[in-house]
């Protein structure tokens, strides 16, 4: 047993690549060993800016010897057979073994020395290494076939049990020599064996353990902050990044001019973090302190000199930030917003100004329709819980006193019109991640209503799972309108997510829509909103592509779309003379075909979300399969009521009854009363239905049959009668409850069918010899099935 050390030394590896490189090295090494038949024990990996290393413990010194046995012909088989076999295995007849009258070829493969396996493995790993970006270098790069590595590779250590495993790649031969810290250690460092690697390098001022450097930075930064009576703002991303930039990390605290604290704290933190990789600190009262923590890679002769240099750089950065902050405020957000007409949102969708216009209209509409209101349904009092009814349209919203006469709709529209204005500010140009936040700051500085400033600030939320979902009404209206518009607009130009490709993050945006609707119990039918938004986007798209000026477009589109734009798309759009009808028509057709696709896409996102929230996927399917539901709140209320019901005993048994009924109907190929025409002898049961002469005949016959089914021609058995009565009572009750969105009540109504259906199956023969009885009983089962089905598609429920 021996320990193996591999070190691949190169010029500075980007910090962000080191953690993944460690994993890749371990994986490639383990795979190569396993393939060679060597047992893979404990593997430890290391990464610093200048080296990637691995220690594998307890490797055997050789692979196991293997004896391979191949069965040949029987003794006494024709000579040709034996000759063929000898050729195949490459042996002579004397070398064969005979057992139970059969020849065997036995080949003993001796074990290979582990060192030999490793000598082959190392160059293979280097060549196969999956760096995100790699490069060529030096004289060898005269050919593009030269070795590639993340940065120039300068040395290889390969030691098995302290002995060099000799190998070479592109002129770099393995050995036991490495380099210590770039500045704290001069000259080569000799490594004796794997066991002394870590400590030998530590003596040369290199801490090879990535995690140890992380700990030093995390604790060291907290310590220097505490010494200054401050609290470090923890930032694990920065810890990892600094660990990837240093071999000997030394956190140092510095101060910057207090005057910079006028700039919003997020800006300071981001400037320090993104540009300089510094931590920031808080004062005991929780405000941002005028301090930073940088991580040096040396024990400096005089740390104050290093700190002072860093302070100057930060000061220059903060002056830039303050310049942007002050410069941006010289222009009102409304004026900034005007510049959005110069920014392309997407080449097929026109400018950001076009988008803002759509969002503003939609945000206003959401308020005017009472979908977003000042007092949303309190959670827990929504649907399925005891019956809320949809509220009447909020056509005359009452302004609240604090808004100086502005209604919710006015505020939502105002916020929407300004929400993207910060995109053209200097600050967001410099730090795109501050979008929204800066707009909120500038709005507040301008003295705009607080709700508007907050809506501008938060309208991108929720950004991904776990982010806060807005609940302030103005914010909800703008956020929902923005996301709905984005998703609709991209679907309208046929830019749909496919597979892993989702360049416009439409999945995330859709999830945001789901979360906004659920969190705020928003009652809206998505279908009409989506259709409308498609048309708006399409209009902007056609404008962007087909018209030179917005005046032309306005005139043309007014004529084209008019008030009744939904119809206009089909009819009048293509009668308009001034633009390419064929292209517009083609585009409109593609777009509108995507409306149902988007609704399905929403349904899929909702399914994913609910599944992750722990709702059984079959129950989600059972409700989604009903189709035609675009009110998410109602849909989820039904799913949740169903989940509660199917876990009860009644639910389980009713489900069993439903499945039995459905199976019988399927087995008997029951197609309803009309379907029974088949038994008149026509091969196609409905062959005659369309014959105008026959129509009245068939209608009369059907009427008879329906009447017969309703008024049984025989006396039903008691169990049959009981089921009929139970259905007569439960079906309308369930339907009414569904209508009133009282899904728990609907489930309760279904529950009353459980005993009758059980008894029916126990006591009644469905397949009676009397065709009338059989038909009536099958029809009864179908009625039962359909009544249950109106609440949920029980067929999809497992169990």
């Amino acid at each position: 047993m021996a320990d193996f050390l591999l070190e691949l030394r190169c010029e500075e590896i980007p910090a962000r690549m080191q953690p993944k490189a460690k994993e890749d090295l371990a994986r490639l090494f383990a795979d190569a060993l396993a393939k060679a038949g060597l047992p893979v024990g404990e593997i430890e990996t290391f990464a610093t800016p200048r080296r990637l290393a691995l220690i594998a413990k307890d490797l055997p010194l050789a692979t196991e010897a293997v004896s391979e046995e191949t069965k040949g012909p029987k003794v006494g088989a024709p000579p040709q057979a034996l000759e063929g076999f000898l050729r195949k295995v490459g042996l002579t007849a004397e070398q064969l073994t005979e057992r139970d009258g059969v020849y065997f070829a036995v080949v003993e493969k001796p074990g290979r020395e582990t060192a030999a396996v490793l000598a082959e493995t190392i160059p293979a790993i280097i060549r196969a290494f999956p760096w995100p970006k790699s490069m060529r270098w030096g004289a060898a790069s005269l050919s593009t076939e030269s070795l590639r590595w993340v940065r120039p590779l300068s040395g290889i250590i390969a030691l098995l049990d302290g002995a060099v495993v000799p190998c070479e790649i592109d002129g770099i031969a393995s050995g036991r020599t490495t380099m210590g810290h770039r500045f704290h250690h001069s000259g080569p460092v000799e490594i004796a064996d794997a066991g002394s690697y870590i400590e030998t390098l530590r003596a040369a001022h290199v801490i090879v353990h990535f995690s140890e450097r992380c700990t030093l930075i995390r604790n060291g930064a907290a310590k220097v902050a505490a010494e200054a009576s401050l609290t470090l703002v923890a930032d694990e991303g920065l810890v990892i990044e600094n660990a990837g930039l240093t071999e000997w990390p030394v956190p140092l605290l510095g101060r910057f001019d207090e005057a910079f604290l006028d700039v919003p704290p997020e800006v300071i933190q981001l400037t320090a973090r993104v540009n300089q990789k510094y931590f920031v600190c808080q004062t005991p009262d929780g405000n941002l302190a005028n301090a930073f923590v940088c991580t040096a890679n040396i024990d400096a002769i005089d740390p104050a000199v290093v700190v002072d240099g860093n302070r100057k750089v930060l000061a220059a950065r903060l002056s830039d930030a303050r310049f942007f902050w002050e410069q941006d405020q010289k222009t009102s957000l409304a004026d900034h917003a005007k510049k959005l007409s110069r920014i392309t949102f997407h080449e097929k969708l026109g400018t950001v100004a076009d988008k803002v216009e759509r969002v503003a209209k939609l945000a206003r509409w959401l308020c005017e329709e009472g979908i977003v209101t000042d007092s949303p349904f309190p959670p827990g009092e929504g649907l399925g819980m005891g019956g809320a009814t949809p509220r009447p349209s909020n056509t005359h919203p009452q302004p609240l006193p604090s808004r100086e006469g502005a209604s919710l709709a006015d505020l939502a529209e105002q916020a929407a019109r300004l929400c993207k204005a910060d995109l053209v500010t200097e600050m967001v140009g410099e730090f795109p991640e501050l979008q929204g936040l800066m707009g909120g700051y500038y709005a507040a500085k301008e003295g705009l209503p607080q709700e508007v400033a907050e809506a501008i600030r938060d309208h991108y939320k929720p950004v991904g799972q776990g982010d806060d979902v807005p609940t302030a009404p103005v914010t909800v209206a703008v956020s929902l309108a923005d996301k709905l518009d984005t998703v609709c607009a991209f679907f309208a130009i046929n830019e749909r997510p496919t597979g892993s490709k989702d360049p416009f993050a439409l999945r995330r945006q859709s999830l945001g829509i789901m979360e906004l609707i659920q969190k705020n119990n928003l009652r809206l039918g998505l279908h009409p909103i989506v259709s409308n938004q498609f048309i708006q986007a399409l209009a902007d798209s056609i404008t962007a592509r087909l018209f030179k000026t917005s005046e032309d477009a306005d005139k043309a589109l007014r004529a084209v779309f008019g008030e009744d734009y939904e119809d206009a798309l089909d009819k009048r759009l293509f009668e308009f003379a001034d633009f390419d009808k064929t292209e517009a028509e083609a585009q409109a057709k593609i777009a509108m075909a995507n409306v149902p696709r988007l609704l399905d896409f929403f349904a899929d996102r909702l399914k994913v979300q609910q599944r992750e929230a722990g709702v059984r996927h079959d129950l989600i399917d059972a409700v989604f399969a009903l189709g035609g539901e675009d009110d998410l709140v109602r849909l989820l209320a039904r799913v949740h009521a169903l989940q509660a019901f199917v876990t009860t005993e009644d639910g389980t048994n009713l489900l069993a009854g439903y499945k039995r009924a459905a199976n019988i109907l399927k087995k008997e190929d029951w197609r309803g009363i009309e379907g029974e025409i088949a038994q008149t002898g026509e091969e196609d049961p409905l062959a005659m239905v369309d014959d105008p002469d026959l129509a009245p005949v068939i209608a009369a016959k059907m009427a008879d049959r329906h009447a017969a089914a309703e008024h049984l021609s025989y006396t039903p058995e008691p169990a049959e009668k009981a089921l009929i009565d139970a259905l007569d009572a439960a079906a309308p009750r369930a339907a009414q409850a569904v209508e009133g969105e009282k899904f728990a009540d609907a489930m309760a109504a279904l529950a009353t069918l459980r005993a009758p259906i059980d008894r029916f199956f126990e006591e009644v023969t469905v397949n009676d010899a009397d065709a009338n009885k059989r038909a009536a009983r099958l029809a009864l089962l179908a009625r039962f099935r359909d009544a249950v089905h109106r609440v949920a598609d029980f067929n999809r429920i497992e169990g």
Partner: protein
């Protein structure tokens, strides 16, 4: 007959003189890497990389080591002489080593030592920063070198130039001279830098220039004339290309690039137009590089039979 008086130069003083810092770098790269010490390219350009000693020489198989100062013009960075760090005209020091030597990092660090930066007194770091110039059809991997958190050098291994793989790869070092000097001299305002050891400051040399050129870049330059210049440079580039003189074509591409930057500073190019202008410049630069490579390939192949473009 009397001998001419023997001239003995005074020792360099990079810590107290901007020009001595430059001269020290010249001494260093001339002696340590056998660089040819070139003079600046006599055209207006946005970065030292545009110098033909970098772009065109990065193409082809022949070794090439050069060092030079290149004045850079970035019209939109002008601040009328009022900002302590930003200038519309400043200097870069470029070193190009082809093929990249295996001790290039050590050489570079030694050059910092030569101008007075002690790596145990100052925190020197190589921070990932890949370089890409769509205009030149070029990219490379490398770092920005930090000195106490300040970026003082861009360090790049060219992988492609003009759309061609660099065979071999060249290492390019671009020192920000003013920044380094401010650091070494301990000065917070660029105009306070000592230009030489005889009392001339950077401000004495350049402050008025910054004021006037900022005004011209932002406010005065005749935009119609600039649009015209752009069109003429574009046409002349095509003319030179069709006449088989790609170096001349490349110069016109550089000219077009700078005129475009001036138009940007004048604020007369809209966001939408911007991409189109950049595309036109890119097309000129790449075509010139391609034509140059094509023209030189027979010569290169003759000297390096194994080599292909």
């Amino acid at each position: 007959m009397s001998a001419a008086p023997l001239y003995k130069p005074a020792p360099r003083d990079p810590a107290r003189s901007f020009q001595d810092m430059i001269l020290t770098l010249h001494d260093f790269w001339s002696a340590e890497a056998g660089c040819v010490i070139l003079q600046p390219y006599d055209m207006r350009m946005g970065a030292g990389t545009f110098h033909t000693a970098t772009t065109l020489r990065a193409l082809g198989p022949e070794p090439w080591n050069a060092a030079f100062v290149q004045p850079c013009r970035r019209p939109t960075d002008g601040r009328y002489g009022e900002n302590p760090n930003r200038l519309q005209h400043y200097y870069q020091y470029q070193v190009i080593l082809k093929p990249s030597p295996s001790d290039i990092q050590e050489l570079y660090l030694k050059s910092l030592g030569a101008i007075g930066i002690d790596p145990l007194a100052h925190d020197i770091r190589f921070v990932e920063d890949d370089w890409e110039s769509p205009t030149l059809g070029a990219w490379g991997l490398g770092w920005e070198v930090w000195c106490d958190g300040m970026e003082v050098t861009q360090f790049t291994y060219f992988q492609q130039m003009g759309g061609f793989d660099c065979k071999p790869v060249a290492g390019e070092l671009t020192y920000g001279l003013e920044r380094l000097a401010m650091y070494i001299q301990g000065v917070d305002n660029v105009y306070d830098l000592a230009f030489n050891s005889s009392g001339v400051s950077y401000g004495d040399v350049f402050l008025e220039n910054e004021r006037q050129m900022s005004k011209w870049n932002f406010e005065v330059a005749d935009t119609d004339a600039l649009f015209d210049l752009f069109a003429k440079a574009e046409a002349e580039c095509r003319n030179a290309l069709s006449a088989g003189v790609p170096i001349a074509a490349y110069e016109q591409a550089v000219e077009a690039s700078h005129v475009f930057n001036l138009l940007q500073a004048r604020g007369v190019i809209s966001v939408q137009e911007r991409a189109s202008y950049m595309g036109r410049v890119r097309d000129l630069a790449r075509s010139s590089c391609e034509a140059y490579a094509a023209k030189m390939t027979p010569e290169w192949s003759a000297k390096y039979p194994e080599w292909v473009l």
